[in-house]
C-alpha cells in the first residue's frame, strides 16, 4: 500500500451517504469531522480502513465513514477488532467507543486489547454520562453526580481512563477535547501513525444529558490556566502568562511558578512520551483540576511488538521449523502416531 499508487483523498472521500443523527450541538460532530479530516493523512486506501464500534452514541460513527464499518454490540468492539486484525494484519483498524462501552461493559476487553498491543486505534468519547439510554451515571461520572439512576448522587469513585490503560501497558496514550479541533486532529493523526494499541480519550460534551461536563477547564476563557498541553521533550509549562509549570518532586507533581522561590524552567518536569516506565504516565493521568492543570496531548508512545506481528511471527517460525523437515503431509497429520491396516 504505497502512497504513490493511491489517488489523493480528501475529507469528502470519507463521508458516507448517511444522515448524521446525533443531537444538535453534540460534541460527536466535531470528533467525526476531525476523523474524516485526518483519514487522508495515512495514505491508506479507504477499503483498507475499518471502523468498529460498540453501543452508545459513539457507536454510530462508523455509519458516517465511507470505509468498511462494523457497528457491533455493547462493550465488545475491541474483541472484534482483535480477531479482525489478527486475521487481517493488512487492515487499518479503528475502534470507536465511549466511557460506558469501554470502561463499564467492555472494561475487561479494554485491558486485554491494551496489554496484547492489538494494532488498533481506539477513540473513547468520554462524556461522563450514558447518553443513548438518556442519562444514567457512567464509570467516569464524578462522585455525587445526580442522574436518573442516581437521584441522590453516585456513590462510586470514577475510573481515570488513562490511568487504567497505562496500567494495562497501552503503547500509545493520549487525550484531547472535542471542541479543541486543531489539537484533536493532531491527536487523531498521532494515534493513526502509531503502530500498536493506541488509546485516545476525547473529553466530549453531551449538551443534552451532561452539559458542561468539562467546561470548568476546557472553556476558551480558562483553558490556558487550567489545562496543560503536553509536548514531547519540552518542560511542562502552562498558564496564560506561560509562567506556571509542573515540577516532579520524587513521585509527587507540584505546580510551581517560574521565577518565584528560585524556580527556573530547568527545574520543571520535561515530558517524555517514550518513557518506558508507565509510572510517570500514571502520575500525569491523575493530575486533575483544580489541584493541577488537566494534561492533554500524547502521554505515552512506546514501541512494542503488536499482537498480530507476534501471531504471524510464531506461525512463520513454526512453518520454517517444519519446512526444514520436509513438506507438510496432511495425510500423515490425519494418521497421527500409530496406525494399523485392515486388509
Amino acid at each position: 500500500m504505497t502512497q504513490s499508487e493511491l489517488p489523493v483523498l480528501t475529507k469528502k472521500d470519507f463521508e458516507s451517504d448517511q444522515d448524521v443523527r446525533w443531537c444538535p450541538g453534540c460534541g460527536d460532530y466535531s470528533i467525526l469531522a476531525q476523523t474524516q479530516k485526518t483519514m487522508p493523512d495515512f495514505g491508506v486506501a479507504k477499503e483498507k480502513i475499518v471502523f468498529i464500534s460498540g453501543i452508545g452514541c459513539s457507536g454510530r460513527l462508523p455509519y458516517y465513514m465511507n470505509t468498511f464499518g462494523f457497528h457491533t454490540i455493547h462493550g465488545r468492539a475491541a474483541t472484534i477488532a482483535t480477531g479482525l486484525k489478527g486475521a487481517r494484519p493488512d487492515l487499518m483498524v479503528w475502534v470507536i467507543t465511549g466511557d460506558g462501552d469501554a470502561l463499564s461493559i467492555g472494561g475487561n476487553h479494554l485491558i486485554h486489547a491494551m496489554r496484547r498491543n492489538v494494532d488498533m486505534k481506539m477513540i473513547m468519547f468520554n462524556n461522563r454520562i450514558y447518553g443513548l439510554t438518556k442519562g444514567q451515571a457512567s464509570p467516569t461520572s464524578p462522585i455525587g453526580k445526580k442522574t436518573k439512576s442516581t437521584p441522590m448522587g453516585t456513590i462510586e469513585t470514577p475510573i481515570i481512563p488513562l490511568n487504567l490503560v497505562a496500567a494495562a501497558e497501552a503503547s500509545f496514550i493520549a487525550r484531547s477535547v472535542d471542541t479543541h479541533s486543531e489539537h484533536l486532529q493532531e491527536m487523531m493523526h498521532r494515534a493513526g501513525e502509531h503502530t500498536g494499541a493506541a488509546f485516545l480519550e476525547v473529553l466530549q460534551n453531551c449538551n443534552i444529558f451532561n452539559d458542561g461536563a468539562w467546561r470548568d477547564f476546557t472553556d476558551k476563557s480558562v483553558k490556558e490556566d487550567r489545562m496543560l498541553v503536553l509536548k514531547h521533550g519540552e518542560p511542562m509549562i502552562f498558564g496564560a502568562e506561560k509562567n506556571k509549570g509542573i515540577r516532579l518532586n520524587g513521585l509527587q507533581p507540584e505546580v510551581v511558578t517560574i521565577g518565584e522561590s528560585g524556580v527556573t524552567v530547568a527545574d520543571l518536569w520535561v515530558h517524555d512520551e517514550t518513557d518506558q516506565d508507565a509510572t510517570r504516565t500514571q502520575i500525569l493521568s491523575r493530575m486533575w483540576w483544580p489541584d493541577f492543570p488537566v494534561p492533554v496531548g500524547v502521554f505515552r508512545r512506546v514501541p512494542r511488538p503488536t499482537h498480530d506481528e507476534l501471531l504471524v511471527a510464531q506461525i512463520d517460525e513454526a512453518k520454517a521449523a517444519r519446512a526444514a523437515k520436509g513438506p507438510v503431509d496432511l495425510q500423515r497429520l490425519l494418521s497421527g502416531g500409530e496406525t494399523w491396516t485392515v486388509s
Binding site: Y63, I80, T82, Q314, E338
Partner: protein, 626 residues
C-alpha cells in the same frame, strides 16, 4: 491350550468375543494414562475399541477419598462394537476407594485385581470401610486377585536411586503389565511411549519400564491367574485405522475444513472443560498457518471469531455450556450480520457449573433458541468420536455456503471417548470453497443482496475495492443493508433469516434408518447416544423385534424426510441425556407422540437401559393390539 513359554506350569487360554475393563484408582494414580495406553495397544492389535474416561473435575481431590477416584473404561472386541460397555468384566482397583466406587458396576462373577498394599487402615477408613472387604467375604461372588503392587515395584526398581515416592508412582505400569499379559497384548508400544515421555529422565523411564515388565512377568509366572484371554482382532472394513478421541477428530476436522475451503482458520477460545483440548491441539498447528488466541473470556473469544470471519477467515470458537451461555449475544450479532462462524459446544452436565467432566445433552434448546428474538442458527451433532471429523467439516461447509453461524454440539463422552477411525484419504474429500464478493468500481454495493438459491448474502471482506459498506447489529434494510426501522422490512428480514436456515435442509443427506423402513418401534437419537441405541437395536432385532434405529446429525433444520419416517413406525422412542429437549421440538413440529427416555446422571446410556425401555414399550403395544 498349553503355552510353550509356561515351563512347568500349565496355562490355558480362553477365547472371548468382547471384554470390558475398568481401571480405577486415585486421581494421582495415573489411571487415565493406564487406560489410554491399554487402548492404544488394543486398537493397534486390531480389536474394535470404545472408551469412557471418567475422572473428577478436581485437579487432585484428597488422596484415597471417594471423590478422588478416577476411572477409565475400555471395551474391546473381535466384533463391531458401539459403546464402552455397560458393566465391566474386570475391575482394576488401585485402592479401597476405587473398589468401593466401582464394585457395584462389575458384572456378577467378574474379576477384581487389587493393589493389596493400598488396603491399609488409613485408606480403608477414607473409603468408609469398617472392615477390610478383601477379607470379610463380601467379594465372594467375584474372582479376586490380590497383588501387592507397591511391594512388587519397590523390588523391581531396586538400585535405581529413586525415592520410594517416585517408585510408588510406577505401580500403574505394573497393573498395565499384568493386564497386557492377561489379554496377550504387546508391551512394545508402551515401552516406546515411556522412552519418549521420560527422555532425559533415564532413571524414571527405567523404573516405569521395569514396573511394566514386572507386571507382565508376574502374570506369566505366578499361579494366581489360571488363564489368560484372547480377544481376536475385529473384522473392520479394509483400510488404515488409528485410535482417536472426539476432541482430536474435531480438531483435525477443522484443519481439514480449512484446507478444503482454502481459507485461514482462526480459533479464539477461553479454556473450559471438556473443550480445552481442541484449543490445545489447534494451537500446536501453527506450522499449518492456523492462528489461535486464548481470549480473556468467552465473549471475547466469540468476538474475535466474528472479527476474523468479518475479515474473510474461518473464525471459530470452542466452549462448553457455561461458555455457550455467555456467547449468546455475540451469536445473535453473527445472525444479524450473516457471517459464517462455527461455535463448538462440548456439552457437559449442568445447569451452571454442574459436573464439568460428566456428559449430558442439555444444550440443544439453548443452541436453538438461547438468544433474544427469533435468531435461527443451524445446529449439527456428531454421533461418535471418529465422526467428529466429518461433522466438523460439515459445520464449515454449511457455515460457508449459507453464510451463517453454525453450532456444533459435541459432548464430554464424545470428546474424551475413543474408537478406531478409518483414516480418510485427504485428497478424496470434496472442496467446500466459496468466493468472496469481487471488487467493484460501480458503487452502490448491496451487502444484503442474496443468492437466489441459498439466500446467503455476499462475503464482502474489508480490503476489497469498491465494497466499502457498514454492517452491524441494528436491523438492516433488505438488500441495501443500511439501518432500517421500517416495520414491514423488519418482518421481511425475520422471515428471510428463518428461510435461509430452513433451506439448509435441502443441502443435507437423507436420514438413514437402520433396520427396516417401518415397524413397531423406531428408536431415534442424536449425538453421542448413537452407540448405546445401535447396540440395543441390534440385540432387539436379534430377538426378532421389529425395531429400527435412526440417529439425527442435523437438528436445525431437521431433515425434510424425518416427518415421513416418524409416521412409518407404531411407536417412536427418543432416549436423550436431558429431560426431553429434542422430543419437545419434534412433538411440536410433527405432532407425533414420541416417547422420551431421559436420564441425566452425567453418564452415557447403558445398552441394557435402552433395551429394557424399548422392551417395555413393545410390550405395551402388544397389549394394545390384543
Amino acid at each position: 491350550m498349553t503355552s510353550p513359554k509356561s515351563g512347568n506350569q500349565t496355562e490355558s487360554v480362553t477365547q472371548l468375543d468382547r471384554v470390558t475393563i475398568r481401571f480405577a484408582g486415585d486421581s494421582g494414580d495415573g489411571m487415565q494414562l493406564t487406560g489410554s495406553q491399554f487402548t492404544a495397544t488394543t486398537a493397534l492389535f486390531g480389536n474394535d475399541v470404545s472408551t469412557l474416561p471418567d475422572y473428577p473435575a478436581e485437579i487432585r481431590a484428597p488422596a484415597g477419598s471417594l471423590p478422588g477416584v478416577s476411572g477409565f473404561q475400555i471395551s474391546f472386541s473381535s466384533g463391531d462394537i458401539h459403546t464402552p460397555g455397560d458393566r465391566p468384566d474386570v475391575l482394576v482397583a488401585m485402592n479401597p476407594a476405587a473398589l468401593k466406587v466401582n464394585i457395584g458396576d462389575l458384572v456378577p462373577g467378574g474379576g477384581i485385581i487389587v493393589n493389596t498394599d493400598a488396603f491399609n487402615d488409613i485408606n480403608l477408613k477414607k473409603a468408609g470401610y469398617a472392615v477390610d472387604p478383601l477379607h470379610d467375604g463380601s467379594l465372594q461372588g467375584y474372582n479376586l486377585y490380590e497383588i501387592p503392587m507397591s511391594t512388587m515395584v519397590t523390588g523391581a526398581c531396586d538400585g535405581l536411586g529413586l525415592t520410594s515416592k517416585q517408585i510408588e508412582l510406577t505401580k500403574n505400569f505394573f497393573a498395565l503389565g499384568v493386564m497386557f499379559w492377561l489379554y496377550e497384548r504387546s508391551m512394545a508400544g508402551t515401552e516406546k511411549w515411556i522412552a519418549e515421555k521420560f527422555a532425559g529422565k533415564e532413571a524414571i523411564a527405567e523404573a516405569n519400564k521395569r514396573a511394566l515388565n514386572a507386571g507382565y512377568a508376574f502374570g506369566e509366572t505366578t499361579e494366581i491367574f489360571h488363564t489368560h484371554y484372547r480377544v481376536a482382532p475385529a473384522h473392520l472394513a479394509p483400510g488404515t485405522y488409528r485410535n482417536i478421541t472426539g476432541n482430536e477428530a474435531t480438531a483435525l476436522g477443522f484443519v481439514m475444513a480449512s484446507k478444503l475451503a482454502e481459507r485461514d482458520l482462526f480459533l479464539a477460545s477461553y479454556p473450559i472443560t471438556p473443550a480445552s483440548d481442541i484449543l490445545h491441539q489447534l494451537s500446536g498447528y501453527k506450522h499449518l498457518g492456523i492462528k489461535t488466541v486464548q481470549s480473556e473470556d468467552e465473549i471475547a473469544a466469540i468476538g474475535a471469531a466474528v472479527g476474523a470471519a468479518y475479515g474473510g477467515a474461518m473464525g471459530m470458537t470452542t466452549t462448553s455450556g457455561p461458555g455457550m451461555a455467555l456467547k449468546a449475544e455475540m451469536l445473535g450479532l453473527a445472525v444479524m450480520v450473516e457471517l459464517p462462524l462455527v461455535v463448538v459446544d462440548v456439552q457437559r452436565a449442568g445447569p451452571s457449573t454442574g459436573m464439568p467432566t460428566k456428559t449430558e445433552q442439555g444444550d440443544l434448546l439453548m443452541s436453538m433458541f438461547g438468544r433474544n428474538s427469533d435468531s435461527p442458527i443451524p445446529v449439527i451433532a456428531p454421533a461418535t468420536p471418529a465422526e467428529c471429523f466429518t461433522m466438523a467439516i460439515e459445520a464449515w461447509r454449511i457455515a460457508l455456503k449459507h453464510m451463517t453461524p453454525v453450532v456444533y454440539l459435541s459432548d464430554a463422552f464424545l470428546a474424551t471417548g475413543a474408537e478406531p477411525w478409518k483414516i480418510p484419504q485427504a485428497s478424496d474429500l470434496p472442496s467446500i470453497a466459496v468466493e468472496n464478493a469481487p471488487p467493484s468500481d460501480r458503487g452502490g454495493f448491496r451487502p444484503y443482496q442474496r443468492d437466489p438459491e441459498t439466500l446467503a448474502r455476499p462475503w464482502a471482506v474489508p480490503g476489497t475495492k469498491g465494497l466499502e459498506h457498514r454492517i452491524g447489529g441494528l436491523e438492516k434494510l433488505d438488500e441495501l443493508g443500511t439501518v432500517s426501522y421500517d416495520p414491514d422490512n423488519h418482518h421481511r428480514m425475520n422471515l428471510l433469516r428463518a428461510e435461509k436456515v430452513a433451506r439448509v435442509a435441502r443441502d443435507i443427506p437423507a436420514t438413514e434408518v437402520w433396520g427396516d423402513a417401518e415397524g413397531d418401534l423406531l428408536i431415534l437419537g442424536w449425538g453421542s447416544t448413537y452407540g448405546s441405541i445401535r447396540s440395543a437395536t441390534e440385540r432387539l432385532r436379534e430377538r426378532g423385534k421389529r425395531v429400527s434405529h435412526a440417529q439425527l446429525r442435523y437438528l436445525n433444520p431437521l431433515p425434510n424426510d424425518l416427518g415421513d419416517i416418524l409416521k412409518r413406525f407404531k411407536r417412536v422412542l427418543l432416549p436423550e441425556l436431558n429431560l426431553g429437549q429434542l422430543r419437545m421440538l419434534l412433538r411440536a413440529k410433527y405432532l407425533v407422540d414420541i416417547v422420551g427416555f431421559n436420564l441425566v446422571r452425567g453418564k452415557p446410556f447403558q445398552i441394557g437401559e435402552i433395551e429394557a425401555k424399548a422392551e417395555s414399550l413393545l410390550g405395551e403395544s402388544v397389549e394394545v393390539s390384543t
